[in-house]
Structures are given as C-alpha cells and as structure tokens.
Amino acid sequence: MSGTKANSASFVRDTMLSEQDPPITERGVVKWARENLFSGPLNTFLTIIGAVAIYIILKGLAPWLLHSVWNANSAAECREIIAAAYGEGAHGACWGVVRERWAQFLYGFYPSEHYWRVNLTFILLFVALAPILFANLPRKMLWFSVIYPAVALLLLWGGSVWVPVAALAGFALGWLAYRFALPVTGSLAATVAAVLVPIIWWLFFAGWFAGLAHGILPLGMEQVPSSKFGGFLLSLTIGVTGIAFSLPLGVVLALGRQSDMFLVKTLSVGFIEFIRGVPLITLLFTASLLLNYFLPPGTNFDIILRVIIMVTLFSAAYIAEVVRGGLAALPRGQYEAADALGLDYWKAQQLIIMPQALKISIPGIVSSFIGLFKDTTLVIFVGLLDPLKGITDAIRGSFEWKGIYWEPFLFPALIFFLICFGMSRYSMYLENKLKRDHR
C-alpha cells in the first residue's frame, strides 16, 4: 500500500491561503478603463477620437470662459478689460451684460416698482404646485391651488379684483349647472351644460359683472398691460398655464378618441389630427391675426391669453396621443374587472384606468411639457418678447451692448435647462414612486 499516497484521491490542506488582492489590471481605475475605454481596437479608436474632440472644444472654449468679465457696463468696456488683462486680440466672455440686464431677461419690460408682484406670484406658484406634485402633503392645500390662477391673474396684470372673481365664478357656475342638471337631464346633458354655461358666462356676462361690482366696490391694483410682459415672466406664464390646462384637455381628448359615440370620436380625432398637422407658429399667427375676424367687433381679447389658448390646444393634441398610448397598454381585463364590480364609466376611469394609463404615459407627458415650455419662445413671431430672441435682440440693439453675441443667449439657455432638467428629474422620481411590480 506504500505507493498509493501519490495518486490517492484524498487530500488534506495543512496551511490556509490568506486573502489576496486581484491583479492590478483587474481592479480600480485600471479595470474600469480597460473595460469601458480600451476593450478592443474599435473602442480604443473611438476613445482617442473622443479625447481629441473634447480637447478641441475645450481649447476653444476654456480661454473664453477663463477670461470672463463680470464688472463691465458695456461691450466696449468688456473688450478693454480683456485686452488689458490678457493682451490684444484675446477673447473673453462678457457676463457684464447679464449682470446689468438680468432683470430684463426675467421680467421683460414689467415696471420695476412692481417686480414684487411677479416675485410673489412666482413664490406662490410653488405653494400651489406642492400639493399637486407631492401626494404626502395635506390635501387641504389643494384649495389654494384651485384659486391660485385667479391670484396670479390679479397680481400679474393688476386691475380690478372683480375680474378674476368673475373668471372663477364661471367654474362655480359650471359646477352648479352640473349639479342641477344631473337629476333632471342625465349625465351627458349635465356635462354639456357644465361646459356651456361657463363659456356663455365668460363671453357675455363676466365683463359686465366685473364692471358692475367694481362700480360698487372698487378694489384692485395698478394695471400692467400685456405688452410690458417679457422674458421668463412671459415664458413661465404661458408655459405653466399651458401645462396646467393641456393635461386635463389631453386626457379628455384621449378618452374622446376611444369613445363609442360617433360624434365625440370624430370630433376628437379631427381636432387631434388637425392640431398636430399644423405648425405651432401657424396657430400663433391665427391667434394674433385671424381670431380678430371671428370675434364680435370691439372685443379686446388679450394677446397673451390668445397665445395661451393656442399653446394649450397644441400641447393637448400631443398629450392626447401620449395618453392614448397609455390606455392602449392596459389589458382589456382591467376594464372588465372595473365593469364587473359595478363601477360606472367615470369612476372606472378615475380609479382604475387613468391612474395606470397616466403612470405609463409619464415620460411622454413630461416630454410634451418640456416641448411646450421651450416652444413658448416662438411667441416672438406674434410680437411678444420671449426671453431668447425677443429680449436678446432688444439688448443687442442697445448702444452699450452692440456686438455682443453668445452671452445673452447662454444665460436664458441655462435657465431653460434648469427648468427642463427639473421637470425631467421630477418625472423620474414619480415613475420610481409609482412603481408597483417586482418589489
């Protein structure tokens, strides 16, 4: 048995191995670089091309940024400072234009003694948005969100308190019409009444009522006309209002498109396809020029309001299609289960269908919102001073800032980016929060 040990299957370890680090090429930065930058000839080639591209961009941009001038009151002064500091022919960014004209970017030509009204509206916007965006806040806060549009209307445009009150009264009347029509005429006619009554009120009686009430009790603020609006004040006014109204309208259109009722379906499809089929600028021109032909003579329909209506309709058509995608993704069984439990159409939509369909549509809806917000710069075409071209042109047209080019574009671009990026992050937060499967 002496020779068996060498080829025996039995084995006993007498010294345990101590733990060792992986080889240098398999850990830390080196490993990461090997795997992600130099994993093969093609990858290595692309890495080098990328590095060269970054180098060329930085070489052009870095001196310009490093030579930034903040304290200057004109383009010429900027150039002098840069020449003095970095030698003749050196380039540098002149942020002095932002320092001197930031208020114009934000407020347009809104009278500066009333800036506080804009600021207050902006702060209150967050108070109004908070309960909508975050479900864990007290629901009572939503009441403020409901009256916020009227508050903002009064603060921004000023004028009589009774105008926003008359506007809000339209919604109250619509609700009353629904309540009283429902037991008498059934839900369809009541819904129609709830839409028609406010429209009639706003078109024919609201102005008369506001005038009358103001005669009795004159309360109000100094008026600021729409022509003074500009910059981000204008963009946010149009953007936020458009976003707030286009989502519900889009949902209604999406449901209309799926409806069994021929007329509702045809109208919805027609509306969506028409609005999506024409450029936004066409609609804006329609709003500024053509609408005057259709309205009764003498009606003075505010230009910002007209633009808001057009932007809302435009965005609603896109959102309707996004929501329809969400609706189509829901299995038939969800509708059947809701029906089988005895939920009526609207309750099924509210409790079962929409929460799921909207959740699926979040990325698409937020994309539409971002698009809408950026499209507010197109109002330049109907003579409103958008922050990008409108204000920039006004600044570059002035004597002091003649010849300045990039800086007045970069500043609004940065603000646009922050707002749009914020929306995008919120959408990711919401998607994550509403995730229900495979947890």
Partner: protein
C-alpha cells in the same frame, strides 16, 4: 385539462336549491359580427344552484356567463338576473353588476392598488360604505380566503393562486348573491389550482349560487348539482353530475368526456 381529485369531505348541510329563480335566460342569441356565437340559449338558475359549464374551446361557454353581467351584449332574447332585465339601460346593468360577482381567468386585480384597496374599492365607491366598515369586511373575506397577512402588499408580489383568492375575496366584498367563475384555475399550476378550488368549495358549502366555466371535472363531481355541456354556441346536454359523467347521452358529450377524462 387536469382532473384534480377532490379528496376532502364536503359539508352539504347548506347546499340547498330553493324554488326562487336567480337567473332566467330565454331564447337568447348572440353574434360577433356575422358569427353566431350563442344560439337559442334557454336556462333557468335557481337560488343555491352550483352549475358547472364545460365544453370545447370556442363553444361559447365564457361568452354565455359574460352575458349574465353584460360584459357581452346579447342581440336577441331575454336575460333576467334577480328580477332585473338586462337591456341597454345603464342603471339596470350597474345594478346587476353590483349583485353579481365575477372571477376571471387572469385574476384582473388592479396592480396599482394594495390587496386591501382592491377589496374595498367597489364597496366604498359603488355601495358608498364608510371606509372603516369596508376595510373590516375586506379583512373578513381575506381571512376567509386565508391571506389576511398580504393585505398591504401589491398584487404583483403575490403568487397566482394567492391573486386568484384575492380576486374571489374582492368579489365577495360586494356581498353578491350570484358568483360567476370564468375558468378561474386555467392560468394556474396544479398546487395553486387546489387552493383556489378549496376556496370555491367553501363558498359552495355556504350555499352561494355559482356558475363556473371550468374543466375541473373533480370539482364538478364533488360540488355541482348540474353540469351543462356546450358546443358550437348551444347547450348540448345538461344533467346532474353523476348521470352526466357515467351516462352521457349525446355523441358530442361522449367524445368530449373521453378526451378530457381518457388519460
């Protein structure tokens, strides 16, 4: 198609068929476009009956029970459920739907709501029950289907069998007088089939009026008081289970039974 033997003893003390008519279907016809799916259906279901409907796929059995709560519309004839005739009148439809519970092949739980919310939704929004009361009822039925501990989970976190039991509990929360089962075990593994069938048997033991579309012939033999065989959109044969399985009359029935029991 599995034939799961039911090995438990069944308490028949509450399984009584009364004279009261629960569902009355007369001369009912239904078409999908030009396709005649249901042809001259006549049947009466008395309160307390446990009926199993079987037949080859495409025979119209699911469509038939889906007509009873108007998930499908019939074009001819009459369906009266608990004294309410199903017409296009939405009020009647909602009334019938809140009295008739339905369990689906694919459970159809609401994935965005917890198990408890799934169960309380209809009582709160349709029956207008106070939330507290609805939750108490829901917990009662969840205990009955033996998953009270899952109440705060979401459907996606449960197994298929558990989901189907929740679906049964959700229907029961509306305190229905009639329960419809549309192939409730067809999407489940054998172990899970057993837990769902057990729940259904307990329901039958309490005297619930039940219509089940199923291929579980063991369940039919143990629980049903009547088996209906359908083919090509018509009722071909119906009988009490013992006679139906031991002494089928029509050739179609014999063929069908030999196919599903013959292995």
């Amino acid at each position: 198609m599995s034939e799961l033997a039911i090995d438990r003893t069944i308490d028949r003390s509450h399984m009584q068929v009364s004279d009261e008519v629960a569902i009355q279907i007369t001369g009912m016809n239904k078409w999908y476009g030009a396709f005649h799916v249901l042809r001259d259906i006549n049947m009466t279901v008395n309160r307390g009956e446990r009926i199993v409907i079987c037949g080859p796929s495409g025979s119209g059995k699911s469509t038939l029970i889906r007509c009873i709560n108007r998930l499908e519309e019939h074009q001819q004839g009459q369906i009266i459920v608990d004294g309410t005739e199903l017409t296009s009148d939405l009020k009647n439809i909602d009334k019938v739907r809140s009295e008739v519970g339905m369990v689906f092949q694919h459970f159809n739980l609401f994935p965005h709501l917890t198990i408890l919310e799934n169960c309380t939704l209809a009582p709160i929004w349709v029956r207008k029950e106070p939330r507290k009361e609805a939750e108490a009822t829901a917990m009662h039925y969840l205990e009955k289907v033996k998953i009270p501990e899952q109440a705060n989970k979401y459907p996606g976190q449960l197994s298929g069998g558990q989901q189907q039991r929740v679906a049964i509990a959700r229907s029961l929360c509306m305190k229905p007088r009639i329960m419809l089962f549309d192939e409730p075990t067809s999407a489940l593994d054998p172990e899970m089939i057993k837990e769902v069938l057990d729940t259904m048997i307990e329901l039958a033991e309490e005297g619930m009026t039940m219509l089940c579309v199923t291929h579980e012939m063991g369940f039919a033999q143990a629980v049903a008081n009547r088996v209906i065989f359908m083919d090509q959109g018509q009722i071909v044969e119906q009988n009490e289970p013992k006679e139906f399985f031991n002494n089928p009359q029509s050739d179609r029935t014999k063929l069908f039974l030999s196919q599903i029991l013959g292995h």
